[in-house]
Symmetry: C2
Amino acid sequence: MDYTFANRIDGLKLSAIREIFKYAADPTVVSLSAGNPAPDAFPADALREISERLMKENPVLALQYGLTEGYAPLRESLKEYMKDDYNIGREFDDLIITSGAQQVMDLMTKALVNEGDEVVCESPSFIGSLNTFRSYGAKLLGVPMDEDGMNMEALEETLRTHDRIKFIYTIPTFQNPSGITMSLSKRKRMYELAKQYNVLILEDNPYGELRYRGETLPTIKSMDEDGIVVYAGSFSKVISPGMRVGWFVAPKAIAQKLIVCKQGSDVHTNMWAQVLCHEFMTKYDFKGHLQYLRQLYSKKAEYTMNLLRENLKGKIKFGEIDGGLFIWCTLPEDVDMPQFVLDAVKAKVCVVPGTAFLTDESEVSHDFRINFSTPTDEQLKKGIEILGTLAEKL
Amino acid sequence: MDYTFANRIDGLKLSAIREIFKYAADPTVVSLSAGNPAPDAFPADALREISERLMKENPVLALQYGLTEGYAPLRESLKEYMKDDYNIGREFDDLIITSGAQQVMDLMTKALVNEGDEVVCESPSFIGSLNTFRSYGAKLLGVPMDEDGMNMEALEETLRTHDRIKFIYTIPTFQNPSGITMSLSKRKRMYELAKQYNVLILEDNPYGELRYRGETLPTIKSMDEDGIVVYAGSFSKVISPGMRVGWFVAPKAIAQKLIVCKQGSDVHTNMWAQVLCHEFMTKYDFKGHLQYLRQLYSKKAEYTMNLLRENLKGKIKFGEIDGGLFIWCTLPEDVDMPQFVLDAVKAKVCVVPGTAFLTDESEVSHDFRINFSTPTDEQLKKGIEILGTLAEKL
């Protein structure tokens, strides 16, 4: 039989990153391509304790159907956390649990975007989100990045010249893949522009808790008095990604539509994971754990930056980082980046080519992304030394 | 701000059943409206043991990112189970883990159905699936049911007279809500018709393991030598729905597209739940547990049937059942079913109106669905006595 698929998924490919994971499964290859938390980043002892208690005292809670909106106590503890720590959540907002923040992108696009509608994205941006937008037939409008976030003139020009834009997708803090954090003035400007041009903002903040230095900036959602921002939060980087628990804060009218879509997508999120997240947040030292993660990754980041300074010696530029899990590296303009990445894999180190993150993958990129949270210190040393040897030859 | 949503979700409502759950949360209301497993149906001791071992010996496996396709050992044990017990899975097939079987419906529709394309459904059918099809702008073509499954003349007429049909959705065994099981000859006929008219079959089989009496019939997928059937399986009724683990078996070309869609939807399914299902299937007495469930529910079904016979006394007809979790009740033609269901809720017993399951909800229904797996024996007695009192007045 000749299968005919829906137009919306024409040309949609498996995420280059997750495909690269498969190369990275070769134990002789050093993978700097993932975005996984470090194995010692999980609060495993606490989660084991909670899990044992839950499965002993109330297994039916973990095993029975739950509500689509999420486990009520977790929704309450997250509302409190969002309000107290982020000033997020107004009278008009609701907070709903999702199966990872990825599902927020999925539900938002499904509920808001007709085929041919437009989504404004930072370019480069997180490939997982870009592919989700594409999978509903959205047209991506890439806006270039400055060192302090999306170029606001280009954003305004884009908003002015397009009439099917549904929302602006942004990762304002420690953006994946560029590592860039949007300045406060640009956050305010983006909010004003969205309001002026009557489009929503989808603010994705999986790395916000992982600031190693510098001052915390307010989220765009914290400025939202008009009900125009949807905030996506995630436990993937601060508790566990394997659990698949995220959430969104959105105006109730939007939340209602996303709940209907979630009901048809997976009914509800795994109950065990929701209970564990709730108990960890409320009965354990969640803030202390965040502090521990910042120390763990800050050390790893510094170690990696030193290796890059020693090995790449000006041949490859790389950004300084104040947080997050990624370092964005830029090759000289005369170097063929895809060839460099291929040479690197052959030399047994795996990085992600910058093209993977472009809204238009046919554009030229001189960048690649490395991750420092997943590899061990030994692997980081070995991998970056290989990159250094390749850089020497440039 | 005035929010504008995508056309595909126009008119999509929250599942009437899940809305009714909220009434049912009133402790004075007897709920016969759910579809939850009985609280004592969970293999809680075994799952507790496996969970404790996992969280002690290999917490990182439960907590770290996994592959979109699913946890490899679970895929293998399910492939074996499907092959050995169902003769499902050919060279051209693959088996992929999903976040409940609901996600199979979601991924299939997303990958195959353009807005305005058609999906053939039994009418009545499972509202969760119908709403998922609707949520991608599919047009539902309802085919009436005979006592031995979909009417094949009507099915052929539908296939002959429509040219945008992508697949036939069927629950051939212990259908939800009607309880009907499709005869072997109709299964063969449906397969032949699908082949002839070049459409796929989506076979949903969440209740197949719950046969209390009579002979097991082969699934339609077991006849699939042409790569035209996608089979959806679920652990929700035989291990736990709160875990959200299901799977599909599909020709590889289709599976590949569904994997891409799943990547954008939730990246992968909760890892802890996948490991628990695998270990329970391979290291515990899974078959013995299925046997236990059949005994548990068979007893409950018989108890319920006796109550119906005693109380409804010919005023309301109801189907005999050989398996599954639901009994389909039919009011006399001159009775206003929605009013009867409303009267029932007021009298403190909650059932699901048949209209909820129609492909065209504006059609008239004289039916309602009751579930016997969730309520206790006492609740069943009380609830059905109330229905009896209402029936008396008809």
